[in-house]
Amino acid sequence: MNKNNTQTNSFSLSNDKVSATILLVPALIFCTIFIFIPAIGTIVGSFYSYSLTSMNNWKWVGFGNYVKATQDEYFWVALKNNFIIVFASIVLQVGVGTILAAILDRGITHGKIIFRTIIFTPMVISSVAVSLIWLIIYDPNVGILNAIFKSVGLSTPSKGWLGDPDISIWMIMITAAWQNTGFMMVLILAGLQGVSKEVYDAAEIDGATGVKAFWYITLPMIRNVLIVAILITTIGAFKVFEFIFVFTQGGPSNATQVLGTYIYLQAFNLLHMGYANALSVILLIIALFLGWLQLKSSRKA
């Protein structure tokens, strides 16, 4: 390179810096104002006691809100429900999604796209609409679930499908699985399609076909996709809100609360803003931890 060229380069480099900054800054401004500053606000606010109506009347309480959380029975119920939803979602959505993906990949020859389209469809419907549709299915008077149970002579729960928290948490899971399993299926299917045909041919020579080949050869090969699927499901399970908000409002007596709905209740119904912030910080820590795990796993992939 001659001298002249170097000069042009350094000129265009500074020019690049200007245009690069112009391109990068809007994204940073938006994320800073509406995500990072509120995140810091949540942390700061969690050390105060204040309410929505007396915005200027903040009282320093130190770790008081966190101590309150550890003694709050309903906070633990909400956290426990989130973990139940995480576990059940992984089994129902990732597990069944994997089976469906495997069948669509190699198990059937006809109608692959039709099945894939049908099963994925609920993903585009808003969770509120999904909840309302399932509300009529679970309804004790007009619901088809009761009608089906009665028509085959089975008894139905006396408090209705959503009145007893031991049952309603599972009804929430069935609805969540209805909406999200197709998403997991599509994600895992993309991973399966990356597995080359030769691998299966080689496996067949070694005597591994069908379910056996799937278990011992395919699953280990799509390990990374499965990890991503499990992480996305876990993150989704901590964000769950609409199903519970529409089905039970967290009741009866807070038995079906999750962190999201409990934060909403504390902030906007009870106006305990400081306490809601402390609960939010706990959610924030869980979310960032899961995000960090996702980053680590996607780098490996």
Binding site: F34, F36, F115, V124, L132, I144, I232, F241, L288
Partner: protein, 272 residues
């Protein structure tokens, strides 16, 4: 041979059963819309004897049309902003070696991880202090912010695989990065822009929590919040509720069926 057939029957049986599980609620929604009140109570499993449209009239009387218009405005502007801003940022991250780039990318990933519920109170306070509660602008701005991180990650992966020869030629011709981005990169990024736009449209169209706290006046409610009003208004008139849901859901389903190729592509890209 017979073992092979059995496996085949099980495979088809499983996906067929699952498809029925997926389709049945949608069928219930549509059929209930046309049933009379009497039929809804007496024959939950039956099909309607006539196709009455009175339920649609009740649903529309709640203001579903204006909720839909609000959703359309919010989705349009937020998605436009998200795709433009994210595309620009992702391009810089994938091309220029700023020392802070790694830090910026980490910030973006952190932003992706933070759910709206974790910043609910300060966000509400901020929008309230700016006097933007009950305004579409007040929801568009934070929704845009929450849509950016995922979209940046999506574009970033696409730009990394983008052939660099064309850009190098343009650089020699004296184009700045800004010109290269808008004249060369954008016109060649159709598929990823489509994927990002469709994915974000579905997300914004369906977003609930932020709209719930920001939009309390009927004039500004988006569709998901409006659907709750529908239920409040017609408590046990399931025909009216299901009619409202049908109006809200069917357009999205049609859009999905037309563009499903792009959906699948953008979601499949997540695992890579």
């Amino acid at each position: 041979m017979s073992r092979f057939k059995l496996a085949n029957i099980i495979a088809y049986g499983f996906v067929t059963l699952f498809s029925i599980y997926v389709l049945m609620p949608i069928l219930v929604m549509v059929l209930t819309t046309f049933k009379s009140k009497r039929e809804i109570f007496l024959e939950p499993l039956g099909i309607p004897s006539q196709f009455g449209i009175s339920s649609f009239e009740k649903a529309l009387s709640v203001g579903l049309g204006s909720f839909m218009l609000n959703s359309f405005i919010v989705s349009f502007f937020a998605v436009f902003l998200i795709v433009t801003i994210s595309g620009m940022a992702a391009y810089v991250l994938s091309r220029i070696d700023f020392k802070i780039n790694k830090f910026v990318y980490l910030l973006i990933v952190a932003g992706f991880a933070i759910p709206p519920a974790a910043v609910l109170v300060p966000l509400y306070t901020m929008v309230s202090n700016l006097n933007l509660l009950n305004s579409l602008f007040g929801v568009i701005m934070p929704l845009t912010a929450f849509g950016i991180p995922f979209t940046v990650i999506l574009f970033y992966a696409f730009f990394l695989d983008f052939p660099k020869e064309v850009e190098e030629a343009a650089t020699i011709d004296g184009c700045t990065k800004l010109q290269i981005f808008f004249r060369i990169i954008v016109p060649l990024s159709g598929p990823v822009i489509a994927s990002a736009a469709i994915f974000q449209t579905v997300w914004i169209w369906n977003e609930f929590l932020l709209a719930l706290i920001m939009l309390t006046s009927d004039d500004f409610k988006t569709l998901p919040i409006g659907l709750l009003k529908l239920r409040g208004e017609w408590t046990s008139d399931w025909g009216a509720i299901m009619a409202g849901l049908t109006i809200a859901v069917i357009p999205v389903l049609i859009v999905f069926l037309i563009f499903q190729k792009y959906f699948v592509r953008s979601l499949a890209g997540l695992g890579k």
